[in-house]
Point group: C2
Chain length 203, copies 2
Amino acid sequence: MARTGRPREFDRDKALDAALTLFWTQGYEPTSLNQLKTCMGNISPASFYAAFGSKEALFREVVQRYLETYGQVMAPLWDETLAPRDAIEQTLRRSARMQTTRSHPTGCLIVLGACNCSPENEPVQTLLAAQRERSRKGFQACVARAVAEGELTDTPVTKTLPTLFATFLHGMACEARDGNRAKKLDDAITTLMQVWDSLALTA
Amino acid sequence: MARTGRPREFDRDKALDAALTLFWTQGYEPTSLNQLKTCMGNISPASFYAAFGSKEALFREVVQRYLETYGQVMAPLWDETLAPRDAIEQTLRRSARMQTTRSHPTGCLIVLGACNCSPENEPVQTLLAAQRERSRKGFQACVARAVAEGELTDTPVTKTLPTLFATFLHGMACEARDGNRAKKLDDAITTLMQVWDSLALTA
DNA sequence: CCACTTCCGGACCGCTTAGTATAGAAAATT
DNA sequence: AATTTTCTATACTAAGCGGTCCGGAAGTGG
């Protein structure tokens, strides 16, 4: 469709990426509009609001972008062509590597992006909490699939696996933010996966 | 020592507890002086600064108080009268119960208290990071003690245990904040401890 | 070339922030 | 009772917050 009028002078995608980096580093609330406008190429408030609507709307776009890029390390969790065990292991290992890579902020935007929020920004917290819940459901689905395929037996111990993996996954955000390197987390994942194997063996 | 002059009218300890609850719930930055003064019994700015110095100084006192009370669930980690495995298990189980108890805010102040910080409040982040590092060292010490006592063998796998437990511990803060109950985490801990047992068996 | 659409820069909005200065009252010690 | 100390309340600062508005600039379609 024909787009008339003066075209915007900044690259909306580049600006979004810059905002993503800033939000990822500092989190939602401490990131001010001034910082955002500066890092997005010294755009004016008017340009900002015309392009993104509000700080919260921008953050929602940023989260979406994150999920579509960096967040794809979690994709194996919902890939039913993978064996359930491999899906979980790949998710953990890829998350560990991604969260510790130094070419972008460390840790996980979904876990750390809105930990400290005033009551008025509760919707933002809720947004990220929903994504974390999605991850938990992913682990549950993998374990359920393993039971269905006969790889694991449906015991009380098996039922604890999703929480075990989800807790470890979310904990990696803290470890990565605190400076732990990929190898350390990766080695811990190797050990953690032994839990799965020992349950599979006794089946 | 003799303390002359008019005594303060509010209970400093109660005020500190109120501030602890508020900081625990919201985190450092989003908690404003107005909120603090209100919850501490409608004290005046002058009284506040006379009694606590600054927002940051108050937070440091709050962290200290937290460590001396709720944070004591981690005490087993440095209790050398306990078997290393028991020390770790107790630390995890007590943390799980404490962090999910509803008579106070959920999650862990040390993990969640200053996730989202502007650059100017980096010292606050550093304060909590140092405490998290202390926890990691605690797990390391327990594993080292287990090796020294012959309970575990000094293998590459054994070396991954501290990171495994620390990551899980810190992850519990996220799970508790998201509404998970004690039993769910406790059951996951039971499964996680199997890792230790399987390594001890092969020794 | 003109009309129209859109964007940009900057002034500006009301409100909140952490923190201070001041003045006077109240309570303890001497 | 005089002195010392710290309280209270209130007004205040300078800066920053998210967000709005407007006049003019810049581009497009007819």
